[in-house]
């Protein structure tokens, strides 16, 4: 009996040692980022891992919130990139929710001839390395004068989100009993009324999930804006630029501060969204 208790105690201890080690490994890079953001050490490699509470400094934040690469700019670079990204994210979220629910509704509630080929096509399109279309997008944008315009960048995100979201919405709406809309149809509701009054309210959770994803996407996307928004920087471009050794200013410390500023809200949302983690992977896979 004593032996068993000892064994159990040992197992508990080992497990806790393992957990503590993993927690440390998980936290060190994040702590270091915090530490660097609030430090004024001149070289980033010299920033201590554990934030030095006595020497906290807001220099980096002051710098990024005031630095203008061209004088006469209304907003500092960082604020500007933040606002641009906010615009892109807001527009794309609105449109993604509208279009995805329309397409999802059509795909789940109607039989039409082009459905299967369309679904297959969407699956296929998801597999192609997206930025290879970049040269073409660049030409289209230049021909129509859309370069540096947040609205049209948002349109690309919308187009890119539709194939994936179609599957998610489809998976969800299938489980909304069809008898509901049939009953409404008997009462004389039109298709549009069924969509707006019955399907959309029932699909609210999945729409929320889609909306949050659409809103978070543009903040950390680098490739697309780097080619389509050459003079209208987004946050991701700013972050990358601060790290790139061959452009001026090369300020990894500013990067840390700027990254922290957008990362904290994103982290909070992510942690809140963890219960939806299974949605993303069931695109088409539900019901096994």
């Amino acid at each position: 009996m004593k032996m068993l208790k000892f064994k159990k105690g040992l197992a508990g201890t080992l497990i806790h040692i393992w957990l503590i080690i993993s927690v440390i490994i998980c936290l060190v890079p994040i702590l270091w980022m915090l530490s660097a953001a609030f430090s004024d050490v001149p070289h980033i490699g010299r920033v201590p891992i554990i934030p030095n509470i006595t020497e906290l400094s807001l220099t980096n934040f002051e710098e990024i919130f005031t630095y203008r690469s061209r004088s006469g700019q209304m907003f500092p670079d960082y604020i500007r990139s933040f606002l641009v990204t906010l615009a892109v994210a807001t527009i794309s979220t609105t449109l993604v929710v509208i279009f995805s629910s329309l397409v999802g509704f059509a795909v789940t509630r109607f039989r039409f001839r082009a459905k299967k080929p369309a679904l297959l096509l969407m699956m296929g399109l998801q597999m192609f390395p997206g930025f290879m279309g970049m040269i073409a997008l660049f030409i289209i944008f230049r021909v129509f004068g859309w370069l540096n315009n947040p609205f049209f960048l948002a349109l690309i995100y919308v187009a890119g989100a539709i194939p994936f979201n179609t599957f998610i919405v489809r998976g969800f709406m299938r489980n909304v009993p069809k008898s509901l809309d049939e009953a409404a149809a008997i009462d004389g509701a039109t298709n549009l009324q069924i969509l707006v009054k019955i399907i959309v309210p029932l699909a609210a959770p999945i729409m929320g999930f889609i909306a949050v994803n659409a809103f978070m996407g543009p903040w950390m996307d680098y490739i697309l804006p780097s080619i389509l928004m050459p003079n209208n920087e987004t946050v991701a471009m700013w972050l990358f630029r601060m790290n790139a050794p061959d452009t001026q200013p090369h300020e990894p410390m500013w990067f840390m501060a700027g990254a922290l500023f957008v990362t904290v809200p994103i982290m909070i949302v992510q942690i809140y969204m963890q219960k939806y983690v299974t949605y993303g992977l069931t695109a088409g896979a539900e019901k096994g």
Binding site: A11, G12, I15, L19, C26, L27, P29, I30, W32, M33, H43, I44, G45, I49, F99, S100, L102, V103, F110, R111, A114, L125, M127, F128, F131, M132, G133, M134, I135, L137, I139, I140, V143, L155, A159, G160, I162, R170, R174, N191, M220, Y222, I227, L239, N243, P252, F255, A259, V262, T263, M267, Q270, Q274, V277, T278, L281, G284, A285, E286, K287
Partner: protein
Amino acid sequence: MEFFERLKKWIGKQSRRFVFFLRNKAVGFVRGIFRFFRAIVLGVRNFFISIYKAAKEHPKSFRKGLMSFFLMGLGQFRNKQWYKGGIFLGIFLVFLIVEFVTSDYIYAPAELSQYPADDQLYFFRDYGGIITRGIWGFFSLGALSMGDAYRGITIVGEDARYSWMLADNSRTLMGEGIIIAVLMVVLIGLWIANIRDAYKTDLRIRAGEKVESAKEWVRSIWDRNFAYIITLPGAILVLFFILMPFLFSFLVAFTSYDAAITLRMDLIAWETETFTDVLFGGEPAWRSFFFDVLRWTVFYAILSSVTVYILGFIQALIINSKYVKFKKVWRLILILPWAVPGMVSLLVFSNIFGGTHGLMNNILADFGIVDNVREFLRTIGLIGSPREEGNIQWFTHPDNANLARAIVLTVNLWMGFPYFMLLITGVLGTIPQELYEAADIDGGSAPQKFRFITFPWVLRATAPVIITTFTFNFNNFGAIYFLTGGGPRYHTADVPNALRGIEPGQTDILISWIYTMAFESGDHDAYNLAAVYSILVFIMIAVVSLYYLSKLKSFWEEDD
């Protein structure tokens, strides 16, 4: 040990299935292509037969169709459906007006007499509207570049008196050509619909049926095509921003477009050489480097998926175990790496390892263990450079490729395991307790319970995710580009001339190599080669995903 035996067996079984699937699909694929072409030929034949029949059996109705054939809407007017005819005619006129407004036809006679063409005249190039010029440009990709003599003048790059004196920009012509091609498909579709409509309506009139009114027509279109109509805005966006660029880059693979081409100075040409050279001949380096990078990409994709899965599984089990108190707190801390956006973590890690004075090197130096660590890394084969003093070059020394790759995998593990931890924690909650109770009654030990209950259950529930993780990692551009930037480079001596300037780094996976090849190689940018490679990547990913899809029954279920 038995566990590994089983795992080995399972993997063996899966890979045999995959090969079998491939073989099956290869046969099916060829058959599919054959069927596709047969269907086209048959479709065209049936189409003409039906036209022939219509002309023979209902010559009068056929004449109405013929009217709409020559002028959209004319047949409808004869059917006394003014509204319908008006709409069709309106669409046709819009196309005509757009063509005319964007053209210079009215200036053509005067300018042609002033600058007569001696031998060669590109009429649509000089005066065509957006449609005719677009079609011309798509097929020819331009005819005149700077310095060419044409109609008695010299072609210039800018500041020309007339627009036709400007050099052709092949890239723009190709892009516009694709836009026009899509518009033409729409127009032709409407045109055919308009002919059919005129013919069918006339048939109905002759049969004495009532012809629908304008209101009824609009209503029937709205009801019958509701699914299409509400899909339309989304479909247009996908068509314009996803499908068209896709077509474009597919076509670039069949051109001579690389950095040697200065737009306006040189013309791009249609050619299949790059494509066939990569596959069958030409530069052997294009193939050998491709396979080197492919090998690392596959290795990376498999290992990164498997490691995050295993660690996530372990953490989920541990947090779930009865010894652990405050489960929620532990879980909350352990998912933090997942909550930080990937790009930020990768850039932070690039600051930790990058450069010779990054955080890692400084810490090692502070503890005075740089040499010990280097010796250790050399012993286990991660550092290959024979003599290296001072700080460790994590991402920069050409002989330290293994080190950089190990770090890429480790960072990926750090970022990726919490996701699987969350996922598997969720799955663990769905295992029925009765299974364990039954095992207890039979005297099953903890390892046995894991082997026969927990592991199979979790694996079954998460198998599809492993595949999606694999395909995701296969194309995980950021994991390489933001962390190592592809480095370390190859030894200069090892790079063949054919790839100079566009060679991959030693940690580059296909996708990040393609990106740098197309966009960041300055004077060496090779768009056509990049496009060829991305088609190959597309095919590989498509095969794996098709396999995965074919196993998902629910995807093919009808929605009812």
